[in-house]
């Protein structure tokens, strides 16, 4: 099942930082991993990843460097910084509260069981 784009848009920073927390990655690698880990549930327009990455880099949450990828081509890798880890913690906490509230409302809307 494809996820609603709007549902995904609020959590892309969380997803990107979570992927980078496991190790340095380049853009396409992140997209591919996101698709693989979510069984293609998360498919965003691939270009939208880059404004997020560049914004995080401007904020100092990630930094980048160029390195040869396993394919032999030079790719721009992103590395999460200490500030990025702090932001990830904040985003996780934010997501926890948000998902709990959504779950509570969704549970309340469920038809009562006999």
């Amino acid at each position: 099942m494809k996820a609603d784009k709007n549902l995904l848009s609020g959590s892309t920073t969380l997803l990107v930082l979570s992927l980078l927390a496991a190790g340095d990655k380049y853009g396409y690698e992140m997209i591919a991993e996101l698709e693989a880990k979510s069984d293609d549930t998360f498919t965003l327009k691939e270009g939208t990843l880059y404004p997020i990455l560049h914004g995080l880099e401007n904020d100092g949450a990630v930094n980048s460097y160029e390195k040869e990828a396993p394919s032999g081509r030079t790719r721009k890798y992103y590395h999460i910084t200490k500030k990025g880890f702090r932001l990830l913690d904040d985003k996780k906490a934010e997501w926890k509260v948000f998902s709990e509230k959504v779950n509570a409302i969704v549970a309340g809307a469920s038809p009562a069981t006999a």
Partner: protein
């Protein structure tokens, strides 16, 4: 391998929306890399797909190039971008200017540190030796003294013997004359040429040699003469004084320069006269 024209077109359309042009090559490289990786993945996953189809799907997966370009433009502010570039240039320029200035100042600094010894009038007169003196010794005494951040040393000493025809005591006879080039060094380039007006001398036999500021006066039987009260020449780290002690008793073994300031005698430098009385 030449770049895929469809991918180049996509990247060009993205960059057209990014005002900060210095970042275009980096953005283009990154997007091009992504497109190539996606294209390869499609070709691998779907064997037999038409290349044109794979290319179209690759570009479509990226989304609208103008929309992406506008987002990237927000992240690549021309103001901050140019500010960073000019700041970096300013730092490089400053570093270059600093290096050039340092190199320019290095030569005078080296010249100061290795300033040649400057002899004054009396020492030059002794060196020239017009025959009226008999040079007994020409050496560099090892005596040094540290006082008030200055290091005093004798760069050259010439001991000469001459015949005094009529002294203050009315006696004629051989006496010694010691010409010195005195060096005062200080690591502070602004502290140069200390005032040595209060200098007099004494030998080991108890004779005193009084200070005289007059260059050519020889009426005193025994005296310390300096070419003026100031140094002969000063450099930022060293000053040279022309000092001579005349009318020294031939039996003396050493002469001590004494700094008499505020009525307090301070031993300055003791110069052993080579051979002393044995010179004769």
């Amino acid at each position: 391998m030449s770049a895929n024209p469809a991918f180049v077109d996509f990247c060009t359309r993205v960059c057209a929306c990014v005002r900060f042009r210095p970042d275009h090559p980096s953005i283009q490289r990154e997007l091009m890399g992504h497109l190539e990786d996606r294209y390869d993945a499609i070709l691998e996953q779907e064997k037999g797909i038409l290349l044109a189809d794979a290319q179209a799907r690759t570009v479509a997966a990226m989304g609208d190039p103008e929309s992406l370009g506008r987002y990237l433009d927000q992240m690549h502010s021309p103001f901050w971008g140019w500010l960073q570039i000019w700041l970096r240039r300013a730092v490089w320029l400053l570093a270059a200017v600093t290096i050039v200035l340092a190199l320019l100042r290095l030569e005078p600094l080296r010249a100061c540190l290795t300033a040649p010894v400057q002899h004054g009038y009396v020492m030059e007169y002794r060196i020239e030796n017009n025959g009226s003196y008999e040079i007994l010794a020409d050496w560099r005494p090892p005596s040094t003294l540290r006082a008030e951040d200055y290091t005093f040393s004798i760069e050259r000493a010439i001991l000469a013997r001459y015949r005094r025809t009529v002294g203050a005591d009315g006696e004629a006879g051989d006496v010694l004359s010691l010409a010195l080039t005195l060096k005062a060094a200080n690591i502070n380039p602004w502290l140069r040429g200390p005032d040595l007006s209060w200098l007099y001398a004494r030998d080991d036999l108890g004779n005193r040699y009084y200070a005289s500021e007059e260059i050519f006066t020889t009426s005193l039987p025994n005296y310390v003469r300096k070419t003026g009260s100031a140094a002969t020449v000063t450099y930022p780290f060293s000053s040279y004084y022309d000092v001579s002690v005349s009318g020294i008793d031939p039996a003396a073994a050493e002469v001590t320069l004494i700094f008499d300031r505020y009525g307090e005698n301070t031993v300055f430098l003791t110069i052993p006269l080579k051979g002393g009385a044995g010179h004769g």
